[in-house]
Symmetry: C2
Subunit: 355 residues, 2 copies
């Protein structure tokens, strides 16, 4: 098995498509409700927003899964909606209902009032948390910073909350494309600034979550999501803090457009479980690393099944460099932490040697 | 524009990939809450189940969109969960929460007790409605009968209700594949019997809705959904009532597996809007007709945008035989019926002539 120095290296090496001693693994929402220690800190914080916006508490829950499991990366505990909150939309969470904005955008006039917030002032709690986590991690594993995609942020900014089909934001994009493009451009610059600030504070990899891009038809996905993911990639490539920090893009459900996502020049693509990694790898032509893609529901099955399904995902990717093991979506609250330990162990053990 | 006899023929000709005078169009959930006349009948019925299980009322709402619009097909007003209800699971609808079963399946022992219901007794209200609708349609347009897929029915039968991720049924499939295969085999035979009975009663096309197959990883989709869609196709091909009735399969979100779906030998595949019809057509190699695939959210946009997006879908398919225009998912309750009229007119007018 790997020693400590391997654990500190594997994830970044895989993102660069370099050989590794074992496939690195981390888990989306690894600092989350399935962990009793997370639930305890969350209770102490009083609210989800308080937890995300207090650097000491965010640091504490970020480290919890790292202390418990042999994970190969930490990801900052935060929320993608902190950026539009910093733009003045008034984020709050309603228990059992999810995030809501007090002042959703109602049209072009609202968009015209928006500006790109300065992360070191209005998102200071994010960069403070990054600095704190880096110090507390003491080099054990790299830290991932993240943000939401311009399109996904726009979904919440216009709907004002989550939605089953995001029909209102789609209709806005169709009826007022110029206004939507103005909004997406502001969002892209705000997200790039937030990611750059996280890199400056010490984040060693960056990830953009495009949770709702996959709800768009391919032509609209290209126009309203990929275009702005490409803008972020380009801004970060020319950014003094972020230029050498690998960027991972994850558009859930957008498997029809993997080629376009790879064209952005990102280091890696997140992939959900509705496509095999073998097909995803062929589609991106080895131009990026891939991160994924076990169905999160697998963690509710028996330990034997978990081991078998881990092997299947590793076999699907095959013996090439450039695979970061992950779920295809966030871990759910009903998972037994013991099952997570078995998954991580299986990934490290079942590793196919690289050529 | 088309005369009455064209309207009566177009849909079935397109399913057989024969030349047509204009692309036929119908709309998933066309008999639904966006229509004031539907809401009036629904109120009169008292409950959704009463509406679906009273042939005269089901016939009335089935015909409403046909009277109002130049649609090229009617689809029976019914519900996919009537089949498991007939198997004894106790279907009921909770206002604002959707369908629930009183007696969901809790394991192998529950599966062992299930049998294939005789549609002419326990689903008599379905076949009675088919006969009534055929009489009232007087040959204006063909009537589509339908059922849920074995996998999708199993999702509700095991979860007991809808679910965001259907994690419980997936874990059951992973942990107890033999029990799941027993259930899916019973469901496939029950669905085939129900579809055969609808054909015998006069349905001129049949459709299977696999609403949740697309939540499965491709290997599991093949094992737990496609295999049983193929079983249904094969049973119907050898069925005296259904053998000449075209069968449409629609697995929402399963675009990674279109080839496998086409291999079942069905007449047509429904396609959601997250893939272009051009790519879908290339993937199935022209072996089936295609039905779809406008994003339902488009109907909330302006009339001008609706016309443009209709043209885009028609252009995506191109000038080949075998296209039935539809949305990529059901129409939503907030759509203005005038927008539907414009969509239908645009499909018929913007028609690209076949070679």
């Amino acid at each position: 098995m790997a020693d400590a120095s391997d654990r500190s290296n594997r994830f970044l090496r895989a993102l660069r498509r370099e050989p590794v001693d074992a496939t690195p693994v981390w888990i989306m929402r690894q600092a989350g409700r399935y962990l009793p220690e997370y639930r305890a800190t969350r209770e102490r914080a009083g609210s989800f927003l308080k937890l995300a916006q207090t650097p000491e508490l965010a640091c504490e829950v970020t480290l919890q899964p790292i202390e418990r499991f042999e994970l190969d990366a930490a990801i900052l505990f935060s929320d993608i909606l902190t950026v539009p909150d910093a733009m003045g939309l008034g984020l709050h969470f309603v228990e059992g209902e999810g995030p809501k904005f007090e002042r959703p955008l109602r049209g072009d006039a609202d968009v015209a009032k928006l500006g790109v917030p300065d992360p070191e002032t209005s998102l200071r709690y994010v960069t403070d948390a990054v600095r704190l986590v880096r110090r507390e991690l003491r080099g054990r594993v790299p830290l991932i910073g993240f943000a939401g995609s311009p399109w996904t942020l726009a979904c919440y900014m216009i709907e004002g909350e989550g939605s089953r089909d995001f029909a209102r934001v789609k209709a806005f994009a169709l009826d007022e494309p110029a206004g939507m493009h103005r909004l997406l451009d502001i969002n892209a610059r705000a997200v790039a600034a937030c990611l750059s600030a996280q890199a400056a504070a010490g984040a060693q990899a960056l990830m953009v979550f495009d949770s709702w891009g996959g709800m768009l038809a391919p032509v609209m996905f290209e126009e309203f999501s990929v275009r702005y993911l490409a803008q972020i990639t380009s801004l970060l490539r020319n950014d003094v803090h972020a230029r050498d920090v690998p960027l991972i893009l994850f558009s859930k459900g957008a498997n029809a457009s993997l080629e376009g996502l790879a064209d952005t020049g990102c280091a890696a693509l997140g992939v959900d479980w509705t496509i095999t990694l073998d097909e995803a790898r062929r589609r991106v032509g080895g131009r990026t690393a891939l991160q994924g893609n076990l169905d999160p529901a697998t963690l509710l099955a028996s330990l034997e099944v978990i081991r078998r399904e881990v092997r299947r995902v590793l076999d699907d990717f095959g013996s090439h460099p450039g695979h970061v093991f992950n779920l295809g979506h966030g871990i759910t609250p009903d998972v037994d932490p013991e099952h997570v330990a078995v998954l991580i162990d299986a990934v490290h053990r079942e590793f196919c040697d690289h050529p």
